[in-house]
């Protein structure tokens, strides 16, 4: 006959009572109960912040620049005394730019390192993999540069500090139609990337609404290196420009092969094109490429000028948009920690959600009700092997 489950615990056996206490303790440990403020006996124990991104692999040009921005922010916060009397420590994990790796490494950050917040990958797809885990664990995840709308729809613990794809797709469509006076455009999209497909959809809607025509749409598989067949087909369709939203890695190869096929018209991309590698691989073929970026110091204010200098002094190169966003992300986490006066992830989340007019390098940051920051975008063009300011678009 089965016993009532509580029966052995309520009887007087000593071992049972011990088991009871062990269970209770275990439950509390599993719930991730943390002290309100860090333990005062270990005064200098660091507050752990997780970071996952593409430190190696095809998207490393984005991931490494993100990581540098985050590192600089942590170092500067610590140099000025840390937060709540404790230094911050960044725990870095690398997803090697591969799909399917992020869940594993984020689990590691959540369970082994017990981080209080996580800085997400710049890649939207990777954030979709990791977001549900952070949401379930109740740890806030802030992506510096994941632009896919679905990322922050995962739940109330997920934030972003950049503009979204509907915004950048729309502004690139308007830029193509109005500034470049293009009428007939072709798409070259990665069929395996939600980012690429999503941006193409937004672009199409806006571009046709403005009286333009999308007359050719070609697809490729992630990791492809040969785009000549697709480009030739688009050329035969008679397009006046090509929109190819994906990362700099395929972007450079697409630009190069397009020019080799004597396609001299403008090539448009998304924010994923912003990395020095676009020009390394594309070479002179990169001229005539246009894409939106999150931050571009064309007429630097004293604050941005100073940031550029500090970044350059620390890493020997100038930051890209994702570096500035990651820097702001960490500063915002520090700010939320200070305001909540606690390292409880729940209160950090609550404070992050009410961030208003936070003065970041990339502009004033205000979280809207969907946990997205409303940000302006700068369109840059490539001329003579360097990124040049074209125009700035407010949200």
């Amino acid at each position: 006959m089965p016993l009532h489950p509580k029966e052995p615990l309520l009887t007087d056996s000593t071992s049972s009572s011990l088991l009871f206490f062990a269970l209770i303790t275990g439950v509390f440990v599993l719930m991730g109960c943390r002290p309100e403020v860090p333990n005062s006996s270990t005064k200098m124990e660091p507050i752990l912040i997780g970071f996952f991104g593409a430190l190696t692999g095809n998207a490393a040009g984005l991931g490494q620049y993100t990581e540098m921005g985050a590192t600089l922010a942590v170092e500067e916060i610590n140099a000025s005394g840390g937060v709540l009397g404790h230094p911050l420590e960044l725990r870095r994990e690398d997803n090697r730019s591969l799909a399917g790796e992020s869940a594993t490494i984020v689990k590691k950050l959540l369970s082994r390192d017990q981080v209080v917040a996580i800085v997400g990958d710049a890649n939207s797809g990777r954030c979709l993999e990791a977001g549900p885990l952070c949401q379930a664990a109740g740890i806030p995840m802030i992506s510096p540069a994941a632009t896919l709308p679905q990322v922050t729809e995962i739940g109330d613990f997920i934030f972003r500090v950049c503009f979204t794809d509907p915004f950048q797709g729309k502004l690139m469509a308007e830029f193509a139609r109005k500034n470049l006076s293009l009428k007939r455009i072709g798409f070259l999209v990665d069929a395996t990337s939600p980012y690429s497909l999503g941006l193409a959809d937004v672009f199409r809607d806006r571009f046709t609404a403005e009286g333009g025509l999308v007359i050719g749409e070609q697809r490729y598989n992630g990791g492809d290196k040969d785009f000549r067949a697709q480009l030739t087909a688009l050329k035969a369709d008679g397009v006046e420009a090509i929109f190819a939203p994906r990362y700099y890695h395929s972007g450079g190869l697409i630009l190069r092969q397009a020019r080799e096929l004597a396609l001299t018209f403008p090539m448009l991309g998304g924010d994923g094109w912003e990395a020095p590698e676009l020009i390394d691989v594309g070479g002179s073929a990169a001229d005539g490429a246009y894409f939106p970026v999150h931050f571009f110091a064309e007429t630097p204010t004293p604050a941005t000028r100073d940031f550029l200098d500090r970044f350059h002094r620390r890493f020997g190169k100038f930051p890209t948009g994702v570096s500035a966003l990651a820097f702001d992300t960490l500063q915002m986490i520090g700010d939320a920690l200070r305001r909540s006066n606690s390292i409880r992830p729940k209160s950090i989340r609550d404070e992050l959600a009410v961030t208003r007019d936070f003065p970041g390098i990339t502009g004033l940051i205000t979280m809207d009700s969907h946990h997205n920051a409303q940000k302006s975008a700068v369109i840059v063009g490539v001329k003579a092997g360097s990124f040049q300011f074209v125009s700035v678009i407010e949200p």
Partner: protein, 301 residues
């Protein structure tokens, strides 16, 4: 029509690279009857050797002579690597079953890939931009466009195929290779040094992979340690399509696969490109197992 011709040119230039890799697969298969899966990694190493050579020499301007020097050096290094792989991994297994050697080949392939990805001992996992090798120009034929880089691939492939054909059919070493492929025991009975011939075969095949690696990197100037996998598989399909063990067959198969891929990519079916390439492999294995140019051998039991 213009589009068709342009796609034809694109397809031939892509296919010529597959052909170059397929030749290596087919030669080793012809002599040893096993698929050297590490071949695609020799291809990858080939492009890195080219990259290092270009860094080291620091040519002011890409020149024809410099390009040829890098290509030759690259082929020599890859030939050595091929021999090394053969001596270390395959020679000790000479009298084991083919399956054992095949699994070892996969192991060698994974070993090279992972060593190459290592930041300390290898090249690191991040893609590198490949600098220009030959001076490149755009050629215009009416509406058709072709870069000299693209044109170089079929020319080099044809040249190497001719040299290879000459070695196999007109030299003593080539005769020994053919003898070995007919019957290894009988070949050694008539005084052929089997080990030496097998090493030579590996050297020859690997140098072709090295050349392929450089030509591929020249046309798709972003190289990484896993870049060999897909072209390697496609070239394997090409070798089977043409009739594995048959040299002109491998070249033909390579060009056919390149053409099929290009024509599929230019249509709405572009994302099914790889699926179609591998469907061809399955179809060939079902309906013409010996390949297009291969002769079906009846095995006596």
């Amino acid at each position: 029509m213009t589009e068709f011709l342009q796609q034809l040119l694109n397809g031939i230039s892509l296919g010529a690279i597959y052909a170059l890799i397929a030749l290596g697969y087919t030669m080793v298969y012809g002599v040893l009857r096993f698929i050297n899966f590490a071949h695609s990694d020799v291809f990858m190493i080939g492009s890195y050797v080219g990259w290092f050579a270009l860094q080291r020499f620091q040519f002011q301007q890409p020149s024809f002579l410099g390009g040829i020097t890098v290509l030759t050096l690259d082929m020599a290094v890859c030939a050595l690597l091929g021999v090394l792989i053969e001596k270390l991994a395959y020679k000790p297994l000479r009298n084991r079953s083919t399956l054992t050697v095949l699994i070892t080949a996969i192991g060698v392939s994974l070993l090279i890939q992972n060593l190459a990805q290592n930041q300390k001992f290898g090249f690191g996992p991040n893609p590198k931009a490949f600098p220009p090798l030959f001076p490149s120009k755009q050629l215009q034929f009416g509406d058709l466009t072709l870069s000299t880089n693209q044109l170089a691939v079929p020319i080099v492939t044809l040249g190497l195929l001719a040299i290879l054909y000459w070695i196999v059919h007109c030299t003593r070493t080539g005769t020994a290779m053919r003898a070995l492929s007919f019957n290894a025991t009988a070949a050694s009975l008539v005084g052929i040094n089997n080990d030496r011939i097998i090493s030579f075969t590996f050297a020859l095949g690997s140098s072709l992979a090295g050349a392929g690696g450089v030509l591929y990197a020249m046309n798709y100037p972003s190289i990484d340690p896993l870049m060999g996998t897909m072209p390697g598989l496609k070239a394997f399909v090409a070798a089977v399509l043409g009739g594995i063990g048959n040299l002109p067959g491998a070249a033909l198969g390579g060009v056919l696969i390149g053409l099929v891929e290009t024509f599929v990519s230019g249509t709405r079916l572009s994302t099914f490109r790889d699926a179609i390439a591998f469907a061809i492999l399955i179809a060939i294995l079902l309906f013409r197992p010996a390949g297009l140019l291969g002769k079906l051998k009846v095995e006596k039991v």
